[in-house]
Amino acid sequence: MSELPDRASVVVIGAGIVGNCVVGHLAARGWTDMVLVDKGPLPDPGGSTGHASNFIFPVDHGKELALLTIDSQRQYEEMGVQVMPGGIEVARTEERMEELRRRMASAKAWGVESRLVTPAEIKELVPFINEEILLGGFYTPSVSVVDSLQAGTIMRQRALDANALTVSTMTEVEDLEVEEGRIRAVVTDRGRIECDYVVVACGLWSPRIAAMAGATIPLIPTVHQMIDVGPIPQLEATRSEIAFPIVRDMDAGMYERQNGGDMEIGSYAHRPILHDPDDIPSIEESPLSPTQLPLTEADFDAQMEDALELMPELLDTPGAGVKHGIDGLLSYTADGAPVLGETVEVKGLWSAAAVWIKEGPGVGKMIAEWMTDGEPEIDPHGADIARFTPNQRTWHHIRARVNEGFNKTYGIVHPREQWESNRFTRCSTFHPRTEALGAVYFEAGGWERPQWYESNAHLVEEFGVEDRPHEWDARWWSPIINAEHLALRDRAGIIDLTAFSIFEVTGPGACDYLQRMVVTNVDRAVGRVMYTPMLTHNGGFRSDLTVVRLAWDRYRVITGGPDWGRDLKWFTDHLPEDGSAHIHDITSAWCTAGVWGPRARDIVQSVTDHDMSNEAFPFGAAQEVVVNGIPTVMLRMSYVGDLGWEIHAPMEHGVKLWDTLWAAGQPHGMVAAGGGVYGTTGRIEKGYRLMGAELESEYNPVEAGLAFPKVKAADFNGKAAYLKARESEPIAKMCSLTVDDHMSAAGIERFMNGGEPILTRDGQRIADAHGRPSYVTTAGAGPSVGKHILLAYLPTEHATEGNELLVEYMGEHYPVTVRSNTRNGVFDPDDTRMKA
């Protein structure tokens, strides 16, 4: 054991797969003087890595986790600690077969070779399976098993070989010292280490450790049960750790994986069993390890029956029995994704937690890139620890969501599926009014947003909107959305936009500061509204924003509800050190209603003396307007492509503002419209991009079609990369496509939901010169153009208007045509309505 140094560049706490991979990748990027501590011994200190099943199914519907997993497999392979027995997700139900077809589309989108197999083919691959209860399977030959302990050892050794690391085991962290919001030192029972950075990679102990610094890492230790059944001569005869493909019995929520002469059976089907991170036994107190608690047998009984049904002869082999069973503890989060990045509370304190074996090396690399360069190669927005709102960081929320989400681990989760637990915690001031109108709420950034209004059901008939014939396509959707859309385009709609995140930037340096942050020139006249990308240092999208100049030294910055935490942290992190500019989060102080449509001017003009004419209040302007005695700020702009205003008012005036606008709108046939119009149908017809869907750090404004004609003189984040990107034709372009024919082989019209791969007309997968695949970033109806619209990045050679391609959906191909390769979309491309 090495002596602990009293000073380090970074202290990594936790020597599981994640901590080891972090030090390995940091060393590869030139970091030295690192310390890795763990309270347990090596190579298995007793965390979740030590009892992991170590298998990797690379196909995930979500892009970020799929890319991290594929990168991790590549790293395990490079380290020589991976074998590929293949794996099959089997279906017992027709609903699951449909899900497996959807899996096929995701496999194709992310470039993983997979195929659907018949029960007979499954039997050939896994001779001891009872194929009679199966309808089919999803076979991925690259499903692998890795030695995660050995991988950790190799990664650690790389840092040791580079003379960059001191390892200290059996070392308990007792305190984290913070000074002026920055981490200063780690205090252990073997000494105090001053440091600039701390990475918390302690798996389920992470919340405890972070709390020592006053920071939160929102995850909860949750039981995943598994048993080991053996000895089984048929498995022993393979003389191999794993010779047969791993079987995921998806409908039963469990897996069967050969482990030498035994069969390991794991389950995500038992009741959710959550533990308190402060109440995990110590290593000495644990019969096996702190994360391997005694199996609570009664919870596993139903799973045993399912397993016996699937592999009756094998598991009934005379002499074979349950050799071992545990309640294995894993880290679960409220939304299922890892928690990565610098904590929002303490500078220099990083989280690398809630990570599974399948993502470990990829996350190690991501954290190292992020710490070194300020941003990782793979866009981390879905895993960024800053994504949570304060109420989402509470135990109350985490417990509720993990209790609800645990059994969805192998579930069929619809892309629009909503959570049921802990809802209506964050509501707009308009909520009583929208509720009275029969709003159906979707959650965004912890807010409740009306998605559509049941009181608008009569519009479906008025506008002749057709329902979607397939239940899956119609799930978490309503034809009322399209009807609200048409009513808005025909007359007017009022939309509750209170979920917007709003920051105020003030101070004598406000202009210079914002100039450095965003692409557009913000040194413009007071009263100017500016839409702008905000870039990473590499020139990819960090965010897109509306910036309003309210005074020479005062700006309002508006961003999406779900982007609140990440954007606020990014802005705060880049504030000038001289204190010349400040940022205030005023999200909870302001409500916002949008009124748009051809009658919007008539409606708004009727409740104010302010001149709302196009001449007095042109497009792109912001003005202070008094509405029925309420001081508001109005922004002449639109995300739905129609005439109208975003109307901002102090929260306490909200109800009166709504009532005033509502009453004024009635003679004009104004309807309440939901997020279905605002976020999908209205915006997608206009080709407007959405952060996290079309916009992410992998793509730059030139590719997204959002580059400005001129580049401002002032320097800004990502400028060099932005200038470079402008020099040549982009290798991919964001395009709007429409579906030419919806008819499936079964004679049912189908409607894509997003995430599907775009293929050439002869069915070939499409990827650009950087290997980035073409897939649907957003799919939705375009009621005013009578088409289903898909947004997707296409390699430039495919991104020509009129180009005919295919989209794969639920195992079938549908013809699509490129309609636009610019930002203008397919509806009113000249913006005549918006600028009327």
């Binding site: 054991m1 011994p41 059996m170 059944v229 053996g230 109440d279 036994p281 110590s282 290593i283 000495e284 107190e285 644990s286 019969p287 096996l288 608690l293 005694p294 199996l295 047998e297 009984d301 045993m304 029956e305 397993a307 016996l308 598991l315 009934d316 002499g319 074979a320 029995g321 349950v322 050799k323």
Partner: protein, 256 residues
């Protein structure tokens, strides 16, 4: 001949390296622990299953304990025991005298209902208290022969030959049935509970008896856990460089 065998087991916590006591030092804190029976008792269960398998007859497992001790009965049933009997107590620990008296009552009740036990098997000692008493006291109360430390049982016509391990070999004992034996770990290799067996055991009927508590003279004052020597791992080196240090250590401990 067929055999009617009763096996007695005791539910005990399965602790880690460090045993945590409750604040009042009256018991082991079992919040994070699973429960099991002693290895001797596991072997007694296996022996009963094997003997009945070979000679025919029936096996029953009995325990004195709280309702949750059913778990240990069902585990024994999933290993092949036919019946389970729970002599139900509260959560309090019963001393050896009270336990033996209650088990004796229970056995007499069971036998009065028609089950005469040719063999009653105990573990040599419980995993927690380790009093080495209950089997002997029950045998005495039932006026049956008893032997302990048993590592082999071979029944023949109303008698049984048993082997008991001593320093240099075995004592071979011959005794008439019915008899009582305290089994020692090593008599056999207990099987793992089969998955199918577990599912069947879940549905098995457990007979419940209510004992009368007759405490003996022994009273627990408190539990005391002596401080443990903390094990410390020391790296002597890696690869060939470690050889001299290893050799030096071997010399130091007298291996070389």
């Amino acid at each position: 001949m067929t055999l009617n065998i009763l096996v007695a087991v005791k539910r005990v916590p399965a602790p880690g390296a460090k045993i945590v006591l409750t604040e009042d030092a009256q018991r082991i804190d079992t919040k994070h622990l699973g429960f099991t029976v002693s290895p001797h008792e596991e072997c007694a269960v296996e022996e009963a299953v094997q003997l009945v398998g070979k000679h025919g007859g029936s096996s029953t497992v009995i325990t004195l304990g709280p309702p949750v001790a059913e778990e240990q009965l069902r585990t024994a049933i999933s290993m092949g025991i036919d019946h389970g009997v729970l002599v139900e107590t509260d959560e309090q620990e019963w001393d050896a005298l009270a336990t033996a008296a209650a088990l004796t009552d229970a056995i007499q009740t069971l036998e009065a209902d028609g089950d005469r036990f040719d063999l009653i098997l105990f573990g040599n000692e419980s995993a927690d208290a380790g009093n080495y008493q209950v089997g002997i006291r029950v045998a005495h109360a039932l006026d049956r022969p008893v032997v302990s430390g048993i590592k082999a049982i071979e029944p023949t016509d109303a008698r049984a030959t048993m082997k008991r391990a001593v320093a240099d070999g075995f004592e071979v004992l011959d005794l008439p049935l019915p008899a009582v034996a305290a089994i020692k770990e090593g008599i056999n290799l207990p099987r793992y509970p089969a998955m199918r067996g577990r599912l069947l055991a879940k549905k098995a009927q457990i007979r419940r008896l209510t004992p009368q508590r007759r405490d003996g003279g022994m009273r627990r004052v408190r539990l005391h856990h002596p401080p443990q020597q903390q094990a410390q791992t020391q790296m002597l080196g890696t690869g060939a460089d470690a050889a001299p240090a290893v050799a030096a250590l071997f010399e130091e401990v007298g291996l070389l």
